[in-house]
């Protein structure tokens, strides 16, 4: 993957922010000169051998640097891994996602793995932070958050050292009260979701090196050597892909799935707590239940362990985070947001359940490394999911019928009451009672629920959503999702938001007309968009200046006189997307630079607040004015980081989905 100027700048900034100057220096040198053997790297980066060795070792630990030892000349080459550097910014989102899916403890495990780059399980076992279920004291949490920024001694290979002592100190008192944490079943849950994978040797080499090696291995095979001509190239390509997949695939989810469901999710249905599946950004659903549920979940967790679960995972297994899979989950969250924008909440929830099922079997967002050009991109459907699976997954307390109008409004009131006496009577009165379980067992109810779920999904299938599509097979309806089309939709949504903000909704209409109809001259454009010439020209001119639309000249004769030339306006989404992506990178790095600048402005003050005696005891040591200043600074930093994270959402849409 080649990086543009701003993406490279952003990656360097992120590394500097996270790991300090040494890493950033090595990284930028590698980015500037690409692949380098150690002596050249030393020469260009002007670092001492010792620094380099330490830095590289730690960076390899974090997958920030690829290394490759050539069998031909025996040299080891180093190359930057911009992808991993970029994903540093997404770690917050990832932890949040894991927390909403699998609870706080799983998020903590995930955080630790993210923090360490890759880690063997036996090392995780030794960490005091992960030994207990309850989170460390609040003050400690704050410390941990800011730690990456302040920990500027990357020479220390074991980054945990500082944290460990820290954690141990904080936990002193509570240690006795806490139960040991189910580390292994949590890891299994994470692995079966596909969020973590086994580290393989190939993961330390750049994709290009891996490909070349796989290619070599494939061409050395005896059965390949016998082939000739076109067959050879075809077969070679296929074998290479196969070997490549074999070498890089560290999927752990196989064998850990139970009935097509990963571990750790089934508890939702098992204990029947009316916890909606949409826990995304929704921590405050019914207060009492929320608090209660936490304890419950944990109890449940250990009870849940069936025979298989008691077998701990192999301690020597080395784990890392699987960004590809997490992107799938994050993308699905965006799709649900899209559904939520103009469909009923229940519909969105049904949709989320469908997407969750699909997520379990989707390994990555797309098969190609680059997003294909628009129009040349085929549709790529997900695995179809049967309705009954959704029925069993969806929250049994979700009211599916109350949020859709009747098919025949004239006889509505009669119909509505006549059709669902059961709903009104039983569910309406004792909504949270246990006889819900019996209802579920009831076959009729299941059938009608399946019907209702189909209704909801059909609604989503319709324009303007087109979020799902169905396949009708002999054994009923199955639902699937056309990922490429939806990803395209997301991209256009982001573009349109930008255009609406910058040029108004008139421009939006023009843009959509151009996108739907292709190249148009002004007259035709006016007829379709019904805009006065003056407005139209102004809009087009400003959009052209902003790079959103372009003008093509088609001369009628060789002289190319303007009066004898046809001017056609057009909108090239691929070009616009890539330029907006660059702008987004740039905006991100500028915002990060601004944070650095603001921090420097307050350097003295912040140094004081970060002193080890002040930190955690701010109220005691700081004056009122200083406290206020600190609060303001924290707000400011939070909002700037928030913006960076929002910008990352856009990068995800334009690059990763």
């Amino acid at each position: 993957m080649t990086m543009s100027q701003y993406a490279a700048e952003l990656c360097a900034l992120l590394i500097e922010d996270q790991f300090g100057d040494l890493f950033a220096r090595i990284f930028t040198t590698l980015q500037r000169y690409e692949r380098l053997p150690l002596p050249r790297l030393k020469f260009y980066s002007r670092l001492t051998e010792r620094q380099l060795h330490h830095g590289l070792a730690a960076m390899i630990q974090h997958h920030l640097v690829f290394h490759f030892t050539s069998l031909e000349d025996g040299n080891t080459y180093y190359a930057a891994n911009p992808q991993a550097a970029y994903y540093l910014i997404r770690s917050g989102k990832i932890i949040h996602l894991v927390e909403s899916r699998l609870g706080e403890y799983a998020a903590r495990v995930m955080e630790t793995i993210l923090y360490l780059g890759h880690v063997p399980i036996k090392h995780l076992e030794t960490l005091p932070d992960l030994r207990y279920l309850a989170p460390p004291a609040a003050a400690n949490g704050v410390v941990k958050e800011e730690e990456p920024g302040e920990e500027q001694e990357p020479q220390e290979l074991d980054m945990e050292a500082g944290k460990e002592t820290n954690g141990a100190n904080g936990d002193h008192a509570e240690e006795v009260l806490q139960k040991p944490a189910p580390l292994h079943s949590t890891l299994k849950a994470l692995a079966s979701h596909g969020y973590i994978i086994r580290v393989k040797d190939a993961h330390f080499q750049s994709p290009e090196d891996n490909y070349i090696e796989a290619h070599k291995a494939a061409s050395n095979r005896s059965d390949i050597k016998m082939l000739k001509g076109k067959r050879l190239t075809e077969e070679l390509l296929q074998k290479t892909e196969e070997i490549l997949r074999e070498r890089t695939d560290g999927d752990l989810s196989e064998g850990l799935m139970v009935n097509g469901l990963p571990r750790g999710v089934k508890r939702k249905i098992a204990n029947g707590v009316p916890e909606s599946a949409s826990k995304w950004r929704q921590t405050d659903h019914n207060g009492t239940n929320g608090n209660h549920a936490d304890d419950d979940e944990e109890n449940d967790w250990s009870e849940d362990e069936d025979g298989l679960d008691n077998i701990p995972m192999e301690p020597s297994l080395v784990l890392r985070v699987n960004y590809e899979k997490l992107d799938v989950a994050l993308r699905n969250a965006r799709f649900v947001d899209m559904a939520r924008d103009d469909a009923a909440p229940a519909t969105a929830e049904v949709y989320e359940t469908l997407l969750r099922r699909i997520e379990y079997v989707t390994k990555r967002c797309r098969d190609t490394t680059e997003i294909p050009r628009e129009g040349e991109e085929g549709e790529q459907f997900s695995i179809p999911i049967e309705t009954y699976k959704i029925v069993s997954d969806v929250d049994p307390h979700l009211d599916l019928s109350g949020c859709m109008g009747p098919l025949n409004p004239a006889s509505a009131s009669v119909n509505r009451r006549g059709k669902r006496p059961l709903e009104n009577g039983v569910n309406g009165d004792n909504h949270y009672d246990d006889n819900e379980e019996e209802d579920n067992a009831d076959d009729d109810d299941d059938v009608s629920r399946a019907y209702e779920i189909n209704q909801h999904l059909q609604l989503l299938e319709q324009a303007p959503h087109n979020l799902a599509s169905h396949v009708r097979l002999s054994d009923g309806i199955k639902w699937r999702v056309g990922f490429r089309g939806l990803a395209r939709k997301l991209r256009h949504l982001e573009l349109e938001r930008l255009v609406e903000m910058r040029y108004g909704d008139v421009a939006l209409r023009v843009l959509r007309v151009l996108h739907a109809k292709g190249k148009l001259d002004e007259k035709r454009l006016q007829e379709i968009s019904l805009l006065p010439f003056k407005d139209l020209r102004q809009t087009l001119a400003s959009m052209q200046a902003g790079g959103f639309v372009d003008l093509q000249e088609v001369p009628k004769d060789a002289q190319r006189q303007p009066s004898k030339t046809i001017f056609l306006w057009y909108f090239d989404p691929d070009r616009v997307c890539s330029s907006v992506l660059e702008d987004t990178y740039k905006a991100m790095s500028r915002t990060l630079q601004r944070i650095k600048f603001e921090r420097n402005l307050r350097r003295d003050f912040l140094d004081k607040t970060e002193r080890s005696d002040v930190k955690g005891n701010e109220e005691r040591w700081l004056s009122e004015g200083e406290l206020e200043q600190l609060q303001r600074w924290r707000n400011m930093e939070a909002i700037l980081l928030g913006v960076v994270s929002r910008l990352d959402d856009m990068v995800a849409v334009f690059r990763d989905f």
Binding site: C403, P464, R502, A516, V643, R646, L647
Partner: protein, 350 residues
């Protein structure tokens, strides 16, 4: 002899007036079939027809297969025409032949082969006599076009219902678009009757959407996917014409044009291959959207009526006009940026 021809000619004219419509094209056998010409004398018919043409009561035309054909001209028009000079009547005929679509001056010149000054004079005199008028063509705003004074210009020329004096009438369009969106919206969402409202409040909703809906008092529910009661073009056309917003009756073509525009605005979506149309937003939201400010001026707390926001629309860098010039250490740089401070103030309120 001459008086006989005149008399028969006038009888022929009356008979034609009686038998044929004003725009009917008739041939020799049609005239003979009228039984006005005694014994079907071709010679006499020729003379009569010639005299009628001279009196401008008949217009001579070339029918199919190069046969001669005629059309009648009313006596009033004939008087008009008789008063014209030959050049003028030549020009008049050309303009007449163009009908409602009008004819460009340069085309008149090429068809009549008159000199430009003579043509100008003819056109001027015809215009002053109020026989012809100049019209404004939307497609070619610079061309001078003429048509008969009594005709209404066709839609090709005026650009359809959306043009007033050759200019797109945007206020009219916007009013009508709003009306259509609202009308369609009332048909695309099921309004929960008051009696049922108690029930619907209990719907478990996870997001803020529900609150917004309950605030607006009325609850609207989407219809199931196979609902077939969504408005059609015919329905919309009748509704629009019933509403009395338009001075003239709108045709279905014009309505289709407008509805398609609304589809591009993503306010309506077409279903079942464009047979039915459905509003994306429910009536309350549509109404709220009418007095919406442009996206850039929207306040933080107000409900999102547009497409919502993303990182680029929120970040100061996203709307920075100079982002292309910005780099650390340069004249425009993140350190010296003047957009951040007002932005903190706006977002954080200090």
């Amino acid at each position: 002899m001459a008086s006989r021809v005149t008399e028969i000619a006038s009888r022929l004219y009356d008979a034609c007036l009686e038998r044929f419509e004003a725009d009917h094209l008739f041939y020799q056998q049609d005239l003979l079939a009228l039984d006005v010409i005694p014994k079907g004398e071709i010679d006499l018919l020729l003379k009569c027809a010639q005299s009628l043409v001279d009196q401008k009561l008949f217009r001579l035309l070339q029918g199919s297969n190069n046969r001669l054909a005629w059309k009648i001209i009313s006596r009033d028009d004939a008087e008009k025409l008789q008063s014209l000079s030959p050049d003028e009547s030549l020009v008049y005929n050309v303009i007449h032949s163009s009908g409602r679509s009008g004819v460009w001056v340069r085309n008149i010149q090429s068809r009549t082969n008159l000199h430009k000054s003579i043509l100008d004079r003819c056109v001027k005199s015809l215009e002053s006599k109020n026989y012809i008028k100049s019209v404004h063509n939307v497609k070619y705003p610079t061309r001078k076009m003429y048509m008969l004074a009594g005709l209404a210009p066709s839609e090709d020329i005026t650009g359809g219902a959306w043009f007033t004096d050759g200019v797109l009438d945007s206020t009219f369009i916007n009013t009508l678009a709003g009306l259509i969106e609202f009308k369609v919206s009332t048909q695309s969402w099921y309004e929960v009757p008051t009696a049922d409202r108690g029930r619907s409040k209990r719907i478990k909703t996870a997001t803020g959407m529900a609150e917004v809906k309950s605030e607006s008092e009325k609850t609207f529910l989407p219809y199931p996917a196979n609902y077939s009661g969504y408005p059609t073009i015919e329905w919309i056309t009748t509704e629009v014409n019933k509403s009395g917003v338009t001075p003239v009756r709108l045709g279905e073509d014009s309505v289709i044009q407008l509805v398609q525009m609304l589809c591009f605005d993503k306010k309506l979506v077409s279903l079942n291959n464009g047979i039915n149309y459905k509003a994306v937003k429910n009536p309350v939201v549509v109404k709220a959207g009418f007095n919406r400010k442009p996206a850039a001026e929207e306040e933080a707390g107000s409900p999102i009526l547009g497409l919502g926001k993303n990182g680029m629309t929120e970040a100061p860098c996203g709307s920075c006009p100079n982002i292309r010039l910005c780099s650390p250490g340069a004249a425009i740089s993140p350190e010296t940026c003047e957009y951040f401070d007002p932005w903190y103030e706006k977002v954080l309120g200090f």
